[in-house]
Symmetry: C2
Subunit: 261 residues, 2 copies
């Protein structure tokens, strides 16, 4: 099968000029079909603060009231998305910025209220791979903002890691999918203060042991849970890395080899 590379980039990487430039350079150099998925939470929080809108987080997830949704749409689908698109175009990469609403590529439902009301947050229901393939087949590079829609006119805030994983799973029937989770560290670190303590290969068993020990914590837990789920659903390869290392595919490689034990 043909290869599809999906790069998810978040946090500091897209919001700081130097690391964004490094990302654009690395991403442009990837050959073949590719999709970039980005976050932008810090910029959204910064705009919310300037506007006097309180940012509420529960377990690393943003509570999205109507005003916070407007901010998320402006920052993710506007500022961050279009800055990346213009940057990639300048490097000769024929990028197109999309939310899930555009071509209805990602359909979601507003998360049902159980213990917590997350507000205008969308849980992914489906990926329209045929519309995205039309673009990929024309050598167009989709740049996905973490906003989806419910197909009834409502935009919804959706976690970028989840979007990347859902895209990777949906395309696994058609392509050999390699997924890169790109952030500011070289990979999953054994010691958060030592950049050189990257775990080169991480099985699910080891991940859960490190989680129990408190070595892997916070935002990394849902990211890894999502990732192992994606691998079990057909994604070929998942790497946790930083922009510099995309080209040589170094970082923390996830492995299912313990799953059978």
């Amino acid at each position: 099968m043909e290869r599809l590379t999906i790069v998810k980039v978040g946090g500091k990487v897209v919001e700081e000029k130097e690391s964004l430039e490094q990302l654009l350079k690395s991403f442009s150099s990837i050959r073949g079909k590719k999709i970039l998925v980005h976050g932008g939470g810090r910029a959204a929080t910064a705009l919310a603060t300037r506007l006097g809108v309180e940012t509420k987080m529960v377990e690393g997830r943003r509570i999205t009231d109507a005003e916070t949704l407007e901010i998320a749409v402006m920052v993710y689908a506007g500022l961050v998305n279009k800055s990346i698109v213009a940057g990639l175009q300048a490097k000769g990469c024929n990028a197109i910025g999309l939310t899930g609403a555009d071509l209805s590529v990602i359909h979601s439902v507003k998360r049902p209220v159980k213990d917590i009301d997350y507000g205008f947050v969308g849980d992914v229901m489906g990926v329209n791979t045929s519309e995205l393939r039309l673009l990929l087949n024309e050598e167009v590079v989709p740049v996905m903002a973490p906003i989806t829609h419910d197909m009834k006119g409502q935009l919804l805030n959706t976690n970028a890691d989840t979007i990347a994983a859902e895209l990777a799973i949906a395309f696994s029937d058609i392509y050999t999918v390699n997924l890169f989770y790109c952030f500011e560290k070289k990979g999953v670190l054994l010691d958060p203060n030592d950049e050189n303590s990257v775990i080169p290969e991480l099985t699910y068993k080891r991940f859960k042991a490190l989680q129990t020990e408190g070595i892997i914590n916070e935002g990394m837990i849902p990211k890894l849970d999502n990732s192992f789920n994606a691998m079990r659903n057909g994604v070929n390869q998942i790497l946790i890395t930083n922009p510099e290392q995309i080209a040589n595919a170094r970082g923390t490689r996830l492995s299912l080899k313990d799953d059978d034990e």
Copy 2:
């Protein structure tokens, strides 16, 4: 030749819930190939005010410093564009939101400084009709935000009326182009206080006479100058109207019949 309908909608229309809903309904019902171009200046001014960023206008054009550009990108390419796209998708219209940077569909240059430094404002240099045709041929409906790029990574603020006119001219070689300028009035009014004083047909000569008399003024002047220029460059039909009247094609129709006199 096949028909292409371009609807430019601005000001109050896209920013108020009821008139936006009317627009989405009217626009969805247009048959055949179509493109929507939108503004959003009032919402940008409102956000700038909340952020304490001063809005400077010269002859109806926004002076765009770095901070104002960020606001324009957030409001036009983010909030306004994606709200329209989600609204159209809910009506079964397969919309895709674009700036000039996406697929590099509109290339501009930063306006040279003469008497006035407009800042990050782009003058349109070219329309990439072939990329847009790929979408139109798949029955996709482009929704254009008034942001372009210089192909070197810089986003630029560009007048939405101008974008609509440039698209209309560029496509006139390929399609029979009908251009609708949609705003909150029924057309060009002889008496600004009388909604029923619509001029049904307006020649260039009459426009210039009404301008001299002060009856046509402010933002309408560049809009009409642009429009007559577009007609002289091959656009089939131009109508100044409101969302309700799109379906029956009523409003002020521009005419070149005096041009030969």
